[in-house]
Structures are given as structure tokens and as C-alpha cells.
């Protein structure tokens, strides 16, 4: 492996690394030690304190600086003669086009999100450059190899979509702590501190809509004659008391469920908490946002402990007071941010009070923050192992050793004695719309849907294109780009608002649209089929794309994974199978692939299947880190939550 022949292959290679985070730091170090001489590295992120426990090229003094640049400087200190070129930029920028990719021998991904992974996959396919892809979470990880025409591409297997919850589960019938978190973060927090005009399902619909909406109209507005303390208590009673009473009045809902109990603040904090705030000025003398904390103000320190209902209530009211006094200017345009201490405190308290009301166990601030911010577990060791495996695979790719390519899983519990399990890569999926030429078909109401709906819901959200160009035969319906003249921009803007069948070149049943992304050099054809009606619950987009699929995953449910450190995923991994106990077989035979599928198909998919079909979906927001989950095929895949609009 480490022979002279390898060494010359390594020395002559020009490598592109995408990502200088957890895997990236380890990878850059291992590449340099292994003798790679020409390494380019792209990362748009800057360094944060919570990176320092594993991204070992960074120090506290680097916080705020470019990851790519600092990583480069750090590696040059122990390998000064390696040529490392860093780019503090988004890999999706237009400068990184197909020609840019073509200069490399191999591309190595250490990315943290699905969007960028799909993008790099497409550019590698277009440039015909091999890609080694990777991901980790906790003790789990995987490395895969993607070579155009030889092995499956990154998108040949459907990738899990972000976990979503039915609105009614969040607004009326939470059964898990994560439901309470989503309610606190996406509904209540936004209602109180975010954009007031945003549509919000916070108020449950009562049987008498008129009265409830009257009641709701002013409840979240601070009244002229009340103090902020009084306001906070009024909001408390409304959301934890009144709204629960309204929900209870709808008796059908509770036939097969445990009834929640309304909670009123007078039963928990009997007196107006004015005297408790006497010391607020002393403790919160600072105006620096990161130091404004309801916990500090109340004298609580430990983020690991689970607060009592009374403590949660105090945090809840105190956080409201602090937002309206110390951070008045933010109120009205805040959205939840996991690094905003006061926001995390408020969401933890609100979720816990709601949990108490519904008989769901309460959680600590530390745990709540993990769930609310979708914080992924990460340790240095797994990243180091995965980076080592990426380099092993990259060397095989450089030597064109096709029959030695492997996808390798790093497991938490051994499977057939193995902690590192190599599997033969799969062949390209013939019906993959990214790497094969399979046409897609779209059912849509061509006399109602506008071009804008098609662009947003299909071209951007489903096909993941950034700079789309849409053609009908020879006529251009729409394109995005920097070099368009004003007339064209106006023309496309007008087209966006037109119904499909009324476009200059009408799109009707039987039309074949050609959709391209020039930067990704990806193009596909979409056969249009007109359909009048769509099921609002099952087909909320009002259109159905086939030949393309996306599965859902159990991700938002990090209440489970964050505590059980990924057990839910590792459980689904292949278990010992005597049939395959053959040490002479160097790879896991194809029979095992089937087992992988069987072993896991019942786990992730089923638990979320019902919820996935909901009418309206609440997003689970994203974090910036690596996540591995099992997809439907038993593959460990990496994914990032993205905002569904």
C-alpha cells in the first residue's frame, strides 16, 4: 500500500477537498502526512468554540476566522512544502464551475449538508472526476466512492427528507418532547418575538371560531396599562391555560388520548414576581446579548439539570421580561437561533411547561438545545477514522483500482466481528435522474398552477437546482443568471406569474419541459400531465413528481438519538449472519445488501410514514453539522435539514 508506486501516484495528484470542518481537519492532516503535494480546500464557514473539541487545527484565538484558511496555515506548520490553496467561499458559487472541477484528480467531501453534497455530486459527474463522499455522527460514519458510470452516484439512492410533523400534532396533540420543542420554537417564540405578520398556527381552533379569534386578536400585544411582568403572566395563562381549555372542549380529540391539564400561573407563582426582579439590574447590567440570561438573573447555573415546573415558569416569565427590556430592538424580527442563550432558555421553559401539561417528561436546557438546534453529536475519533478511510479510498481511485473500491461503514457495535465494514459499491441506478437520462413526469393542474409554483416546488425544492433554465422546445420560459439584460429579466418575471397553460409557449398535458442547471451541468426532461384535483392532505404541493422520490427520516426526533447516542441507527445495521461468515470473501457479498435493506427498512421509514403524509408541514431547523442516518436501503447517508418553505 505504501509502496513507491503509490507514492508517485500520490505526489502527482491534485486534490480538491470540500469542507474544512470535523472531517476536513483530519483529512487535510492525513493527506499532507501521506505525501499529497497539491491540495485545494473550500469552506465557507468560520470557526466556532464548539468546533474546538474535534477540529484540532483550530484554537480559541481563531474563533471567527475562515476554517479553510486557518486549516491551511496549521498544516503548513508541520508540512511546509505541501501546496495548499484555500477558498473561504461557498462551493455553490459560480466560480467553482465544471472547468474548475476538471483540474482535479479526485474530489473529497467532508461536508455537512445535503444541498452541498448534491451540488458537488453533480459537478463531479459533469466534470467526470471521481468523488469520495463521507459523513459521521457520534461513533458512526461512512465513506463511499462515486465514479461516473462505474458506481452509483451520491443521488442514486433517494435521500431522506427533513423530518416534519403534522400541524395538529404540534398545535393540539403533542406526544413527544420534540413536539413541544417545535411548538415553543416555531410557533410561540415566533409569535412573541418574531414577525407578527407571519402566518402562525399557535391558537388552536375552537368549535366557535369567531370567539376564539377575537380572543386571540390582542392577546399577544402588550397593552398600554400593563407591565411586562403582567404581560408575561397573561401570555402564560393564554397558551398554557386558556388554549388547553379550548382544546379540551373538542372532546373527539381526547377519546383515545390522555387529556392535557391546563396550567395557570397563579397556581405556580402565586405572586407577581416584581420583588424577584429587584436584582435584575445588578446581574443584567450588561447589554451584551450573549450575557443576557434568565438563568443568570434567577441564579441558576447548571444546564444539565431538569428544572421544576416552578423554575420553568420563572424562566419563562423572566425571559419575556428580558426580551422586552434588554433586547427591545430585536423583538419583532427574531427567529430561533441555537446560539442565542436567552432564546434557548425561553424555548426550554416553554416546551417543558407544555410537556408538563401533556404528561410528557421534561428535559434539561442542554438536551432541549440539542433538540431545538438539531445539534449533531460529534467526536474527534470517528472523524479521524473516516478521514483515514477517505485517503485509503482516494489512493485506490487515483490508481484506477476499480475492483478494489469499497464503501466502508464505521460501526458502534461490531457486525460479524467488524467495527470497520467494507462493502462493494453498488452500480449506478438506471433510473437515477441525476446520473442517468431517465425522464421525470409531473402531474400538475396546468390551468391553475403558475410557473412560479413549478420553479419553487419542483425545480428548486425537489431537483435542487440553483441556476435553472427552463425550456419548452426552442423557447426559453425562464432562466436565472447574472448576465441577463433587463428585458429578459422583466420577461421572466412576468412569466413567473403566469399560469402554465397561458405562457407564451403554453405548457399543457403532453408538453415536455427541459430543465437545466448550467452550473451543475445537469439537465432533465419532465413530461407534463394535466390533472384537475389534488388531495390537499397527501399532495400538499398541488403537484406530483414521479421518477423521483424522497423518503422521510426520524431526525427531528433527536430526543431519542441525543440521549441514546445513535442507538436507533446502529440497531438497524446488519446483525451477525452465519450465512456470510466466510473470511475468504473479501467483501460483503451481494446477499448482504439485501439483508441491509431488510434489517433497516422497518426502522426509520415506518415510524415517520404516517406523519409524513400530513397536510401542512412544520420544519425542523437545521444545524451546521454532520449527520448520518440510515436511509431506506440501509445505507448510512448524510443529510442536512433544510428549510422547507
Amino acid at each position: 500500500m505504501a509502496s513507491q508506486q503509490h507514492l508517485s501516484t500520490i505526489k502527482g495528484a491534485k486534490v480538491l477537498m470540500v469542507g474544512a470542518g470535523g472531517i476536513g481537519c483530519e483529512l487535510l492532516k492525513t493527506l499532507a502526512l501521506s505525501g499529497f503535494q497539491d491540495i485545494h480546500i473550500i469552506d465557507m464557514d468560520t470557526i466556532e468554540v464548539s468546533n474546538l473539541n474535534r477540529q484540532f487545527l483550530f484554537r480559541k484565538s481563531h474563533v471567527g476566522q475562515s476554517k479553510a484558511k486557518v486549516a491551511r496555515d496549521a498544516v503548513l506548520r508541520f508540512r511546509p512544502h505541501v501546496s495548499i490553496t484555500s477558498y473561504h467561499a461557498n462551493v455553490k458559487n459560480q466560480e467553482f464551475n465544471v472547468d474548475f472541477f476538471k483540474q482535479f484528480s479526485v474530489v473529497l467531501n467532508g461536508l455537512d449538508n445535503l444541498d452541498a453534497r448534491r451540488h458537488v455530486n453533480r459537478l463531479c459527474l459533469a466534470a467526470e472526476i471521481p468523488l469520495v463522499e463521507s459523513g459521521t455522527t457520534g461513533f458512526l460514519g461512512q465513506v463511499t466512492v462515486h465514479v461516473k458510470g462505474k458506481t452509483e452516484c451520491y443521488e442514486c439512492q433517494p435521500k431522506p427528507a427533513p423530518k416534519t410533523y403534522p400541524v395538529c400534532t404540534i398545535t393540539s396533540t403533542p406526544s413527544k418532547f420534540v413536539h413541544c420543542i417545535v411548538w415553543a420554537k416555531d410557533l410561540l417564540f415566533v409569535k412573541l418575538f418574531g414577525d407578527k405578520n407571519q402566518e402562525n398556527d399557535l391558537n388552536v381552533r375552537s368549535s366557535d371560531p369567531a370567539s376564539s379569534s377575537d380572543h386571540a386578536e390582542d392577546v399577544f400585544e402588550l397593552k398600554k396599562d400593563e407591565t411586562i411582568e403582567q404581560y408575561g403572566r397573561r401570555v402564560f395563562d393564554h397558551v398554557f391555560g386558556y388554549n388547553i381549555e379550548v382544546a379540551l372542549s373538542n372532546e373527539d380529540t381526547w377519546k383515545n388520548r390522555n387529556k392535557p391539564r391546563p396550567i395557570y400561573i397563579r397556581d405556580i407563582l402565586p405572586e407577581e414576581p416584581t420583588n424577584q426582579n429587584g436584582n435584575m439590574d445588578k446581574i443584567c447590567a450588561t447589554d451584551e446579548q450573549s450575557l443576557i440570561s434568565a438563568m443568570t438573573s434567577i441564579g441558576m447555573k447548571n444546564p444539565q439539570e431538569i428544572w421544576s415546573l416552578m423554575e420553568n415558569s420563572r424562566i419563562f416569565t423572566e425571559a419575556i421580561v428580558l426580551f422586552f427590556t434588554k433586547r427591545k430592538k430585536d423583538v419583532g424580527n427574531l427567529s430561533f437561533d441555537k446560539d442565542d442563550q436567552l432564546a434557548v432558555e425561553f424555548v426550554t421553559a416553554a416546551a417543558n411547561i407544555r410537556a408538563a401539561s401533556f404528561g410528557i417528561p421534561m428535559h434539561s436546557l442542554f438536551e432541549s438545545k440539542g433538540i431545538a438546534g438539531n445539534i449533531v453529536h460529534a467526536v474527534a475519533t470517528t472523524n479521524a477514522i473516516i478521514a483515514g478511510l477517505i485517503v485509503v479510498e482516494a489512493i485506490k481511485v487515483l490508481q484506477n483500482d476499480l475492483n478494489k473500491y469499497r464503501m466502508t461503514y464505521c460501526l458502534e457495535h461490531p457486525s460479524r466481528k467488524m467495527l470497520l465494514m467494507p462493502v462493494e459499491p453498488f452500480e449506478p441506478n438506471k433510473s437515477c435522474y441525476v446520473c442517468s437520462e431517465t425522464p421525470l413526469s409531473l402531474e400538475i393542474n396546468t390551468s391553475h398552477a403558475k410557473l412560479r409554483d413549478f420553479v419553487e416546488k419542483i425545480v428548486k425544492a425537489k431537483l435542487g437546482m440553483n441556476f435553472p433554465l427552463i425550456m419548452h422546445g426552442a423557447s426559453l420560459l425562464y432562466e436565472v443568471g447574472d448576465d441577463l439584460d433587463e428585458d429578459m429579466v422583466a420577461n421572466y418575471a412576468a412569466n413567473l406569474e403566469k399560469v402554465l397553460s397561458e405562457l407564451p409557449s403554453p405548457v399543457v398535458s403532453g408538453t415536455i419541459l427541459s430543465v437545466e442547471d448550467l452550473q451543475q451541468e445537469l439537465s432533465c426532461s419532465i413530461n407534463i400531465k394535466h390533472r384537475d384535483e389534488f388531495d390537499e392532505e397527501k399532495e400538499p404541493d398541488g403537484m406530483v413528481l414521479s421518477g423521483w422520490q424522497q423518503t422521510t427520516l426520524e431526525k427531528g426526533d433527536s430526543s431519542k438519538t441525543s440521549l441514546g447516542n445513535g442507538e436507533s441507527t446502529s440497531k438497524a445495521l446488519p446483525s451477525t449472519t452465519d450465512a456470510n461468515k466466510n473470511d475468504d470473501a473479501d467483501i460483503v457479498a451481494s446477499g448482504t445488501k439485501r439483508k441491509l435493506e431488510e434489517a433497516s427498512s422497518g426502522v426509520d421509514a415506518s415510524s415517520s410514514a404516517n406523519e409524513a403524509n400530513s397536510l401542512k408541514k412544520l420544519e425542523v431547523l437545521d444545524d451546521d453539522n454532520d449527520l448520518v442516518v440510515l436511509d431506506d436501503d440501509g445505507d448510512l447517508v448524510t443529510n442536512k435539514k433544510k428549510r422547507l418553505q
Partner: protein, 320 residues
């Protein structure tokens, strides 16, 4: 739980890993003392991993002066001769490691592995030895086992594209998650000497070829009075002869130890950096598990070969 809370600084720095192993494990890590002897690539990786993880203290032993060979897979050594003037490998690594995590005490001991007495060894919770002779491995392992306190003992070595880890946790009790419950488990480990003395025909079926190949080379180096890794292609005929003899005396089919594998291990005793990262990563994980008392530890050998890409656990213990 021993009551003491993590500081705010610790919670912030270790946030992502506390989400993996819990605050309790993090507290135990911060109280553990680790000794490493022999710092080549795999051990450098291991040291980085546990310093980042927030171990209490790390003591380094390696009195070699820096050579090109020492530099090859070790990113803790600066390549600049001006910097390492007169300093030992351990001293230079210490400087780099301190920088990784100011909350960990990293220090150097200038003693020799063979002269460490039980008084000294008992100040540690974990001892990792690398690139030392068979006799030294056995002797340090025995000293650890004679102490009233349980010490986790590991050996680690990488050659060519292969790596080996040996683990002795003596009588070890740990917590394991089973569905919703945590159950207590116990394991008994043999010493290194006991493990390699188990007759080969008493082994489980299909033990990794690497186990046997490395025993042959270990025996060869011992018989010839070589330092670990001190072999060349010219030794191959005698190594193959030794293999034949061992296979005969142990009644093992010679095909279990491919000549090509021995040739690789004899010819290229240098470490391969990606394998150091993998082996150092697995070892780091195991040491973290052993300290925290959480999760199934590996028992008692681990092998990785980049050629087939498998990372395999072998349990080689005599039947009770």
C-alpha cells in the same frame, strides 16, 4: 456521579461530545491519567484524540531524538531542525499537544519503559505502549496486573498498511444500554502473555491472518535481538522459515499466514499515515470507553489492513 459539575467552559468546549457520551463520562475523563510510551504516528493520533476529548493528564515517554523516520507519520513534530535542537520526541510532542487543549495537563517523563516501577505505574489509569519489544510489553503488562488498582493496558503498532491493538482491562465492569435500561456487564481479560500463549489450535475459527503474521515477526525480532520494526526484505527467507516451524508446532495450516503478507510486513515497517489515523482513532475510542465505563469495550485484539479495508475484533483468551 461524583457530584462535581463541569465548568461552563468545559460544557461549551465539549458540547458536541457530551451529546455523545454524557456529562458523567466527561467528568470521569477529566479525572483520568494516561501514560503513553513510544510516540510514532498511531500514538500521535491517539494522543491528539484524547487530549481533544479532555482527559485529565497525559504523560509522554519517548527519549529518541528526532530522525527523519520519527517525522514520517507524526504531525506533532515540527519539521524544522531549528526547533528540535536537542529536544526528545516526547518533549516536542508535548509542546504541540499542550496547544490542542489548554485544559489538559501534558507532561514528559524522561525515564525508560523497562525501568518503570509499580510506584510510578500506579499513578495512571491507562497505559499505552508502542514500538517496544515483546519482553517489554509482557513486563509492563505484568506490573500493571500486580497492582491493587485496575489499570487499563494497551499495546498498539502499525506496519505497512496494517495495524494491531491489544487490550487488557483485567476484570472490568461497565454499563451497557439495553433498550431503555442500563445493565451492568463484566468481562475478564487475559494478559498479553496469556493471550499469545493460547495454543493456536484452540483459537476460534478464522482468526485474522494478521494475528499470526505479527506473532511470527515478533518472535523473529526477539530471536534476532532486533528493535521493533528493524527488518528488511533480506530477512524474509528466515522469517518464512520461522513461520513454517511455528505452524508445524502449533498445528496451523501454513496457508493461514500468506507469504505475501509477511513480505509486506518485513519489507515496509514504516507506518502508513491513513492507517495511523484509523488505528489511533479506534484506540482513542476504546480508551474513552474504558475510562467512562460506558459501552462494550473491545476484547482483546483489533486488526486493520488497508488492503482489504476490514477492521476486525478478535477475542483470543484461554478457556477458563
Amino acid at each position: 456521579m461524583d457530584g462535581e459539575e463541569l465548568t461552563e467552559q468545559e460544557t461549551q468546549l465539549y458540547d458536541r461530545q457530551i451529546r455523545v457520551w454524557g456529562a458523567d463520562a466527561q467528568r470521569r475523563l477529566s479525572k483520568a491519567h494516561v501514560l503513553v510510551c513510544g510516540i510514532k504516528g498511531a500514538v500521535a493520533e491517539f494522543c491528539k484524540n484524547i487530549v481533544l476529548a479532555g482527559i485529565g493528564s497525559l504523560t509522554l515517554v519517548d527519549n529518541r531524538l528526532v530522525t527523519e523516520e520519527a517525522l514520517s507519520a507524526n504531525f506533532l513534530l515540527p519539521p524544522d531542525e531549528g526547533v528540535f535542537a536537542g529536544k526528545t520526541v516526547a518533549e516536542l510532542c508535548c509542546d504541540s499537544l499542550k496547544d490542542f487543549n489548554p485544559m489538559v495537563r501534558v507532561s514528559v517523563d524522561r525515564g525508560e519503559l523497562s525501568s518503570f516501577d509499580e510506584e510510578f505505574l500506579k499513578t495512571f489509569d491507562v497505559i499505552v505502549v508502542s514500538c517496544c519489544s515483546l519482553a517489554e510489553k509482557k513486563s509492563v503488562n505484568e506490573k500493571c496486573r500486580n497492582l491493587p488498582k485496575r489499570i487499563s493496558f494497551y499495546t498498539v503498532d502499525c506496519r505497512d498498511s496494517c495495524g494491531e491493538i491489544f487490550v487488557d482491562l483485567q476484570h472490568y465492569t461497565y454499563a451497557k444500554k439495553k433498550l431503555e435500561d442500563t445493565v451492568e456487564c463484566q468481562l475478564s481479560y487475559p494478559s498479553f502473555e496469556e493471550a499469545i500463549s493460547v495454543p493456536w489450535k484452540a483459537h476460534p475459527r478464522r482468526v485474522s491472518k494478521l494475528f499470526y503474521a505479527l506473532r511470527v515477526i515478533e518472535k523473529f525480532e526477539e530471536a534476532e535481538g532486533r528493535n521493533p520494526g528493524e527488518t528488511t526484505i533480506s530477512d524474509l527467507p528466515r522469517v518464512l522459515k520461522l513461520k513454517k516451524e511455528l505452524c508445524e508446532s502449533q498445528s496451523l495450516n501454513e496457508a493461514h499466514i500468506p507469504n505475501a503478507l509477511l513480505e509486506r510486513l518485513v519489507t515496509n515497517s514504516k507506518e502508513f499515515p491513513p492507517v495511523c489515523a484509523i488505528i489511533g482513532g479506534i484506540l482513542g475510542q476504546e480508551v474513552i470507553k474504558a475510562i467512562s465505563g460506558k459501552g462494550d469495550p473491545l476484547k482483546n485484539f483489533f486488526y486493520f489492513d488497508a488492503v482489504d479495508g476490514k477492521g476486525v475484533i478478535e477475542d483470543i483468551s484461554s478457556k477458563p
